[in-house]
Amino acid sequence: MSPLQLCLILSSLLFCIGLVAVMSRGNAILVLLGVELMLNAANINFIAFWRYGPHPEAGTGIIFVLFSIAAAAAEAAVGFALVIAIYRHQQNIRLQEANRLKG
């Protein structure tokens, strides 16, 4: 098995951990953390393909990861602001109770 495949397996397993967390945990914060994990898994893929790809000197993978990290930061800021808004609204952050568009 090549190192690239190992990296890809690592990233897909990390992605699935995040996915399972998103799907089965009720706590909004944990769900957001799961989403962050999924983003990180994607970043690992970018780096792996950059490292073992045909044109590492172009640096596209690295630049994409930088953008992705910036997007993740934006997502975290907005996401946790939403969590706080939900908490203020229903006094808990159980996602299964946040099922109304209007309240």
Binding site: L19, V22, M23, S24, G26, Q96, N99
Partner: protein, 675 residues
């Protein structure tokens, strides 16, 4: 001093810096903000003069300085500065008139709370306009163009606590935006077809022969040449900005802003932008002239729009009673003349008229501002009167401005520029209709200006404000005097005997004049026409002066229906209300109708159908059969419930289905691929 296009950015940058300074200064920094604004304008003026000298040294040259603005990966967007006589003349005019208006504002806005913001916005406005002039790229021009729009929105709505001002600002912004959409589309089309937006780029620019040839050679919908289509789209922008028919409606409403703003918008900057744009892209507009088999030439449209506007504006101005509105419609009319000149192929005449008009219209607006300021913000000319004795400087300078606007022969700049336009229109071989419209416009111009002068300055004062009016401080009258001198002198830059401006703009080396006698017939005609207009005005308004503010207008007495029609601005606002506005509400009503009756009805119908089947079901169930149907309907209910359980509103459920769906999809694709 050597000056190259590289340093041209200084001209807009100085007012921009003043605007930035004004933005960060605290409210107490009034004096500093105003001083910085004026100093920046004066400095810009000096730089512009240097630029003008450089440009005139070699009028045929197009000095450009292009640079990469940003790298898109697949291409590079480039911007640039351009220095030729057109740019230089415009820069000098804008900075000079602008500086005088700024100085005038010192006095006019003295008591206003938003003094600091006012100078900040004015500087921004001037900076945007200058950026528009020095741009060598349609993109940079467009950016400045939009900045001009923004600044005008801020300035027209400067007294935003007045509902009328806020509405006027919005109207100006939205109306010009309609035109700008055309400009944007034209720009994108141009970039798509030529891959560049630079005007001059050493042979690769869009206004150079290579690009023009290919643009004129292509044909698009309706048999139009691509250059015609792009030109007309760009012209849309000019129509919006320069208040041409049919988008002129915002311009008179823009009078809600402070008077110096009106002067800046109507004289030097915003409205001139449209004319300047067409003059700048003139090679593109004229590229289709060589083609014979096109349905329409771009310039023909320009000429007709200009002629319509010129006549219409003059007509409406006859019936207005607000001193600023009269001037506003006269601006509309004069801009129509400029467009007409552009359309008939004499863009130098248009620029000449643009320059002279800038000076005398700024003079008129500042004079009106002086009157308004002195008469305690009384703007209705019926309530003024008798000011000639009370405000001597204002009266004399205003009279000079009026003479220039009317085209009093020989000694006033307006005469020469208007003469050039009439001459060009007369020589146009496509149609003579624009010429007749222009001639009629001349009569009307003379008529309404006589009316304005007579009612405002003569007779008895008809309101307490006018009675207590007295001359303003030198800070306000001095710009008037300077502008008045210019309004006279400027005409001699380009008489038929010595057409210096023409030669410079056209990039020729020597001045070839010809005798006055060549155009004497036409000139005589226009003198007669002016005399006719003034005579009519005199007969109606001067001989019998108005006695009270509420007395009916003499013209209204003689032709009441015409007068009301004109006073209502040819009912354009009503027309737009009735067409565009009504279309809008009709669409909304239609959507509402669809919502309530069609979709709602459909839903209701389905519900009724359901009810009906239910009824039938029950009937059959009760009357005919027993448990079997109960059983079946129970099953149906169960399925429905099971489905409805999927719609929990819970995120988890949706996500789970999403993921399962993804997995199944991938498996299907893989298996399908394997087969």
């Amino acid at each position: 001093m050597t000056f190259s296009a590289q340093y041209l950015w200084l001209i807009p940058a100085l007012p921009l810096a003043a605007a930035a300074l004004g933005a960060v200064l605290p409210r107490t920094g009034r004096g500093l903000a105003a001083g910085a604004a004026i100093a920046a304008m004066v400095a810009s003026f000096l730089v512009s003069c240097v630029a003008l000298c450089t440009a005139l040294a070699d009028p045929a040259a197009k000095l450009v300085h292009n640079f990469a603005w940003f790298d898109l990966g697949s291409g590079v967007l480039r911007l640039g500065w351009l220095l030729d006589p057109l740019t230089a003349f415009m820069c000098v005019m804008v900075t000079f008139v602008g500086a005088l208006i700024f100085i005038f504002s010192l006095g006019y806005m003295k008591e206003d709370k938003g003094y600091k913001q006012f100078f900040c916005f004015m500087s921004l406005f001037a900076a945007a306009m200058l950026g528009l002039i020095v741009a060598n790229s349609l993109l940079l021009l467009f950016v400045s163009w939009e900045l001009v729009g923004l600044a005008s929105y801020l300035l027209i709505g400067f007294w935003f606590h007045k509902p009328a001002a806020a509405a006027a600002a919005k109207k100006a912004f939205i109306t010009t935006r309609i035109g700008d959409l055309g400009l944007l589309l034209g720009m994108l089309w141009l970039y798509n077809s030529t891959g560049s937006l630079l005007f001059f780029d050493g042979g690769a620019g869009v206004l150079e022969t290579a690009a023009l040839g290919s643009l004129a050679a292509q044909v698009t919908v309706g048999g139009l040449a691509v250059s015609t289509a792009i030109g007309l789209l760009i012209f849309c922008g000019a129509v919006g900005k320069s208040g041409q028919f049919p988008l002129h409606v915002w311009l008179p409403d823009a009078m809600e802003g402070p008077t110096p703003v009106s002067a800046l918008i109507h004289a030097a900057t915003m409205v001139a932008a449209g004319v300047f744009l067409i003059a700048r892209v003139y090679p593109l507009m004229a590229a289709d002239q060589v083609l014979a088999h096109v349905p329409v030439h771009a310039l023909t449209v320009v000429a007709f729009i200009g002629a319509i506007t010129a006549l219409m504006g003059a007509g409406i101005a006859v019936a207005q009673n607000d001193i600023k509105r009269v001037l506003a419609f006269s601006t509309v009319s004069q801009l129509g003349y400029m467009m007409l000149a552009l359309g008939v192929g004499s863009w130098v005449a248009a620029i000449f008229h643009l320059l002279t008009h800038a000076f005398f219209k700024a003079l008129l607006f500042l004079g009106a501002g002086s009157v308004i300021h002195a008469a305690h913000h009384e703007q209705d000319i019926r309530a003024l009167g008798g000011l000639s004795a009370r405000m001597k400087v204002t009266f004399v300078t205003f009279a000079i401005g009026t003479c220039a606007l009317v085209g009093m022969p020989l000694f006033f700049s307006g005469f020469w520029s208007k003469e050039a336009i009439l001459h060009a229109a007369h020589g146009w071989d496509v149609s003579h209709l624009p010429f007749y419209a222009a001639v009629l416009g001349v009569v009307l111009t003379a008529f309404y200006n006589t009316r304005l002068m007579a009612v405002t300055f003569f007779g008895k004062p008809r309101s307490p404000g006018a009675e207590h009016a007295h001359e303003n401080s030198p800070v306000m009258t001095l710009p008037l005097v300077v502008l008045a001198v210019c309004a006279v002198v400027l005409g001699f830059l380009n008489t038929p005997v010595w057409p210096w401006l023409d030669t410079m703009l056209l990039g020729k080396a020597e001045v070839h004049g010809h005798s006055l006698m060549e155009g004497a017939g036409l000139m005589g005609l226009s003198v007669v026409l002016v005399a006719l207009g003034i005579g009519a005005g005199w007969a109606l308004y001067w001989r019998t002066t108005r006695t009270s503010a509420s007395a009916p207008d003499p013209l209204a007495v003689r032709a009441p229906r015409l007068m009301t029609f004109l006073a209502a601005k040819l009912k354009f606002d009503e027309l737009y209300d009735a067409t565009v506005g009504r279309l809008n509400s009709a669409a909304a009503a239609f959507a509402d109708f669809l919502e309530v009756w069609v979709w709602g009805g459909l839903v209701n119908l389905l519900a009724r159908l359901g009810e009906f089947t239910g009824l039938v079901n029950r009937e059959t169930d009760e009357r005919m059969l027993n448990g079997g149907f109960d059983n079946v309907s129970g099953k149906v209910r169960g399925t429905g419930l099971a489905y409805s359980r999927a719609q929990t509103g819970g995120v988890h459920g949706y996500l789970r289905f999403l993921v399962l769906g993804f997995v199944i999809l991938v498996l299907l694709v893989v298996m399908g691929g394997a087969r």
